[in-house]
Symmetry: C2
Subunit: 245 residues, 2 copies
């Protein structure tokens, strides 16, 4: 279970300071493999709002989210938009084996990502099945999350949608794991929203106005406190959970 990490000297310098090294796909790699990977990677910072992957663009590189939140979105021709996922560190970014993106990725907050050229990663995946296995596990998790969200989009009321969104953020944004969040269910929790009202609306299939009204309602009901538009306090996560439908 515990990884032998005393011999850090084998680990590439770049990776040594990487905070998500053990959690993302890199956790699958031995020092020597990490070295093969690190030879191609490049860590880049982007400001909130930067487009990281354009829809329909050719895929030339993949990436790992190291810090911050990335939003994935799709658009209809007439401009209607739907967010189809949020990626937190240490999530993988990009459609593996795809030639073209089927969605757009944009930095929701300031982010730091670790890029690797498409060909380089695909070569490594072929060489180290353990790497593909890690990516498979994340893909399966994302599929589970996408399907959970389909229930939210298709069958929940506006009030339940907003509560579900807050719950999602509360359990993902914090460095504490989801499991910990569950244990601390009764504890006062505070977090910042990585999305604007417009983004939240696009994530929930609602309008800005409806999101705003439902937030106000949750505040009036004492389920949340709105420190400011971007900062929320949940006195009791269990009560919020009860609003999720």
């Amino acid at each position: 279970m515990t990884r032998l990490d005393i011999h850090n000297s084998d680990v590439p310098v770049l990776c040594r300071s990487c905070e998500v090294r053990h959690k993302g796909m890199c956790g699958a790699l031995a020092p020597e493999q990490l070295l093969a990977l690190a030879g191609h990677t490049q860590t880049v910072r982007h400001k909130a709002g930067t487009e990281l992957l354009a829809d329909d663009a050719e895929i030339t590189s993949y990436a790992n989210v190291m810090r911050g939140v990335v939003k994935l979105s799709k658009m209809l021709e007439d401009g209607r938009q739907q967010l189809v996922g949020l990626q937190f560190a240490p999530d993988f970014l990009g459609r593996l084996y795809g030639s073209q993106n089927a969605l757009a990725a944009e930095a929701a907050s300031d982010v730091e990502i670790c890029r690797i050229p498409k060909a380089a990663l695909e070569r490594l995946v072929k060489e180290y099945p353990e790497l593909e296995h890690k990516l498979m596990e994340q893909t399966l998790r994302e599929l589970d999350e996408a399907r959970d969200w389909m229930v939210t989009l298709g069958r929940k009321t506006a009030a339940e949608k907003v509560a579900s969104f807050l719950m999602l953020i509360a359990t993902h944004i914090d460095p504490v794991s989801r499991a910990q969040a569950e244990r601390r269910a009764l504890t006062r929790t505070r977090f910042d929203l990585p999305l604007s009202r417009a983004d939240i609306a696009d994530f929930l299939g609602l309008t800005i106005e409806t999101v705003s009204r439902q937030m106000t309602q949750l505040r009036k009901d004492g389920v949340i406190e709105i420190v400011n538009a971007r900062s929320i306090v949940v006195p009791d996560l269990a009560r919020l959970e009860a609003r999720c439908g």
Copy 2:
């Protein structure tokens, strides 16, 4: 590209008559590996409506859809239901590496599935990375489809949802591939709906009545002909596509 398949004698008897052998995950396997697999598999037929996997049940086996359509659904505690996917032959069925199902699977039509015990498949996956790769490709396809459907659920009108559903069935149910369907876009197409109005409503996040009204509207607009409730003719797929939003 072409697989050497002249020496059928090496292929297990069970698999030799399998119509989806080359298309699903089994396409990854050499005769010898197929033999290892076939020793554990069991082909079963089920009538429409049979529950194939119960939500929250422990996973003991995986399966491949060989004939028919399987619907995947999730339910909220109060009974509201959402279909989160449809599986056609030769799709894989089951949450790989999961211990519990997060969704229910039910035969939408009469189906034939090829079961394999969880442990047996997981052993094979470990042994043959090529097998995990095939499953990865399907998982990625399913994730793409789930995200496409999120746009439908979150941002389309009832009319567009129904058109999108008909389009989905038209391009999946037929033995002709999606690519072929696109080429034959202007051709008259006829197909049977594998779902009842209630299922369609659950797939689209609508009510039965709204689905029915929108179908009627499409008929009145000449976009579809309703032979009977379960059988549809689309004179011009391009016109239907134009209704999808």
